[in-house]
């Protein structure tokens, strides 16, 4: 009796194993069948997708030909990812696609939208093909859905990361742009500051100025803050430090264009104004700088 029972248990276990193996192998087989189907019907599925993109009014920044060309590439990458189960190639493609389309003004919702539309178009074609065999459809979708979702994820994340990279790059460019160090005479530099100065920008400003003093061998620097509306205590201290550091490099600093608000801030926080050489406006600052450097400016054709 025990032996029979044991025999029965053993065969059940073996059956379960058989079923388990079959389902694993089944998934791989199904994926292959799925990929074959997508490759065979490439032309019409791609057209269907392009049509849906236009209907949804996505990628309006691109022409029909461009959309079709990119759609072809995306479709092939999609099917490739489904087949190989690896996503590196897709990631690389997503990044290069993003680099191409971001300057064209394509938005995140459009990219996510078109990838989801492709997922839907392919899913519908699977429904159509396997509608007679619900069990098989069920298992095909089991194989398809995780892969399709991961693909959508990969493409969307790739796009967003590229956007963030571009934004960082632009922020850096704006920072560089906003603090030019300009030589207007021999040994005279002007630093016109415009906009908001945060501690990071203030620090960058100082580094750029000090390097500029050394490169141009400047003896006088005019820092004009006409374009700065307000300054908090931290930034005001940075300004004082900039003046002191410039002195260590042998340069005199003249600060011009202090707004009434900033003048108030500086007085209130008790900045040592003896350390700062200030003049009302930029014109006055340049005139004083020229005097310090021994220049005298006279109108041409004046008393000879």
């Amino acid at each position: 009796m025990a032996k029979e029972m044991a025999g029965m248990e053993r065969s059940t276990t073996w059956q379960e194993t058989l079923v388990h193996d079959a389902s694993l192998e089944g998934t791989a087989v199904l994926l292959r069948e799925l990929v074959a189907h997508l490759r065979q019907n490439r032309t019409q599925l791609r057209e269907e997708w392009a049509k849906r993109i236009t209907e949804a009014k996505l990628l309006t920044a691109m022409s029909k030909e461009e959309i079709f060309a990119e759609a072809t590439a995306v479709y092939d990458q999609y099917v490739e990812a489904l087949q190989t189960g690896t996503f590196e190639a897709l990631q690389a493609y997503a990044r290069s696609l993003s680099e191409r389309i971001i300057p064209r003004g394509v938005e995140t919702h459009e990219v996510v939208g078109i990838v989801l539309l492709l997922r839907d178009v392919l899913a519908r074609s699977l429904f159509a093909k396997y509608q007679a065999d619900f069990t098989k459809l069920d298992r095909i979708l089991d194989a398809y859905e995780p892969a399709a979702n991961r693909i959508a994820n990969t493409v969307a994340v790739g796009f967003v990361q590229e956007r963030e990279r571009v934004i960082r790059q632009q922020q850096e460019a704006i920072r560089e742009l906003s603090t030019p160090v300009l030589q207007v005479r021999e040994r005279l530099l002007i630093l016109p500051i415009i906009g908001v100065i945060d501690p990071q920008r203030a620090r960058q400003l100082t580094e750029q100025l000090l390097r500029g003093i050394r490169t141009n061998r400047a003896k006088v620097v005019v820092i004009d803050i006409t374009g700065v509306a307000a300054m908090d205590a931290t930034v005001a201290n940075h300004l004082v430090q900039t003046v002191e550091a410039s002195r260590l490099l042998g340069a005199t600093v003249i600060v011009t264009g202090l707004s009434p608000e900033i003048a108030q801030t500086l007085v209130t926080i008790g900045v040592d104004l003896g350390k700062m050489n200030t003049v009302g406006d930029l014109q006055g600052g340049i005139e004083q700088a020229e005097r310090l450097l021994g220049y005298k400016v006279v109108p041409a054709g004046a008393a000879s």
Binding site: Q241, A245, A251
Partner: protein
């Protein structure tokens, strides 16, 4: 480490090498004053181009050197502070208060020549 000191007319030029220990700084302070006396110099340039750090002890010692040399009727000027060093100094609140500074050796010589030419 001995700091090389060269004579240029009525001026002395001391060129600091990279890293000066506290003992080196103290030695420099004594050596500079003795040289000023011996050479009857009117001005001293201390070139710190090669110094990549300036701490509070170095700064104080340089200020003391300038003060001691002034007592001998001579002028001191520190030249060659690097942008990075200047930035670090002001952040730490280390100033060379009361000491004349210039960009480099050329500027330092220019300053001293102008100072003594005009008073001649």
């Amino acid at each position: 480490m001995e700091v090389p000191v060269l004579k240029q007319g009525q001026f002395l030029i001391a060129t600091v090498q990279a890293a000066l220990t506290d003992e080196d700084l103290v030695h420099l302070r004594r050596a500079m004053v003795e040289r000023v006396v011996r050479s009857r110099s009117l001005g001293v340039i201390i070139d710190v181009t090669a110094m990549d750090i300036m701490d509070s002890f170095a700064s104080r010692t340089l200020r003391e050197i300038a003060q001691m040399i002034r007592l001998r009727g001579a002028e001191t000027i520190i030249v060659g502070i690097q942008p990075d060093v200047a930035f670090a100094m002001v952040q730490l609140g280390i100033t060379l208060e009361g000491v004349v500074t210039a960009l480099d050796l050329e500027e330092g010589l220019d300053y001293l020549k102008n100072k003594f030419d005009s008073s001649a």
